[in-house]
Symmetry: C2
Subunit: 220 residues, 2 copies
């Protein structure tokens, strides 16, 4: 029991250190040795938990997805919000949470790796739309998301939100980013998914601008 | 000079044979030996022109892109069509041309390869939007494409047309495909890019349905 707790504790410390270092130095520039130095841990102590740097990032991603998944479950249970308000809360958690944005930033370099990129695109076209879909279906029921395209909206929110809006794939300064998000808002409104109201537009611009390479965000 | 002509002729024969075999048997199942047998050519005779099967496909892609590029240049020159009509003609050439669809079909298997997939996504986010952009700018000028989002429309036509509409990435039967295209039409209308009229919607449904795995298209 004590051993079990210690095991989980070490794993948690490795993940916390890695998340911080990936965000500070970037994924590519962080070495396993940096994490060992940070924690005063031996190589064997780390490899007992994670086979590679990629395995650490995979676990951070899984944890992140677990957070979204839990938030989604909590939102679905609430009876004081419409489905549209719940969908907005989910999008806000993605564009507005510093922890989440730190993790996204730490992934940007890794997305240049074809295998990692392809795996992400697959996730964005399958599991992520499923979670949007459940909220959109609730919105069709309660009338807050009056769309004839629930599946298409779920796919597009996932694909466009995670890929098209990202300044690493489609370079943008702040003005470009605001126009891009207003364009998406207009299109989603047209298919009966009015998730981007003025408040969410401005929060999304702010959050996504923070993901730009330093120079571009500053010059914008 | 005679040698030069012979060289080009052999290259053309290899490409024609490969295009046909890739379309008939699929890219993965076509071997270099199949192409040699088809042409009665020696291994050395082929490797003199192409280093690998991938190199043959790259050249087919480049040729295909050259066709689109030439069509775009021709369309830009014409003064008997609005820019919107020109954009429609460009989309029709992509969803309606048997040669083009054969090539796309031959690529579907290869898109499972992360390196090839990543290269395609990069092309769809950079060079392809540029060609759409020139026509959309003309449409803003002549009033036929009254959009405030010319760059965004160019990126979305490219990304959604080549990725989201493809049944290999987002599985769909004929009904799904028609709903997906109508959804895209509604969104593009909303941002002032009314490229999908009823005629184009039906042609796109037909063309993209032909890209489905046999069983799904038949059962739909």
């Amino acid at each position: 029991m004590a051993h079990h707790t210690h095991h989980e504790d070490t794993e948690r410390r490795i993940l916390d250190s890695a998340r911080r270092l990936f965000a500070e130095k970037g994924y590519e520039k962080t070495s396993i040795q940096d994490i060992l130095n940070d924690l005063g841990l031996s190589k064997g102590g780390l490899y007992h938990h994670f086979k590679s740097k990629e395995a650490i990032l995979d676990q951070l991603n899984a944890d992140e997805w677990a957070v979204t998944s839990r938030l989604l479950d909590e939102l679905i249970e609430r009876d004081d919000m419409s489905a549209l308000e719940k969908l907005r809360a989910l999008v806000i958690s993605a564009v507005d949470a510093p922890d989440h944005l730190d993790l996204v930033r730490s992934q940007l370099a890794l997305l240049k790796d074809p295998a990692f990129f392809t795996a992400n695109m697959r996730f964005w076209s399958t599991r992520l739309p499923e979670s949007f879909r459940s909220l959109i279906d609730m919105g069709v029921q309660d009338g807050s998301i009056p769309t004839a395209y629930p599946e298409e909206a779920a796919q597009l929110l996932s694909l466009l939100g995670n890929y098209w809006l990202m300044p690493c794939f489609y370079p943008a300064d702040r003005t470009d980013m605001e126009r891009r998000i207003r364009c998406l808002a207009t299109m989603l409104d047209a298919i009966g998914v009015p998730v981007f109201d003025e408040t969410l537009i401005l929060r999304a611009v702010k959050g996504l601008t923070a993901l730009m390479p330093e120079g571009e965000a500053a010059s914008a």
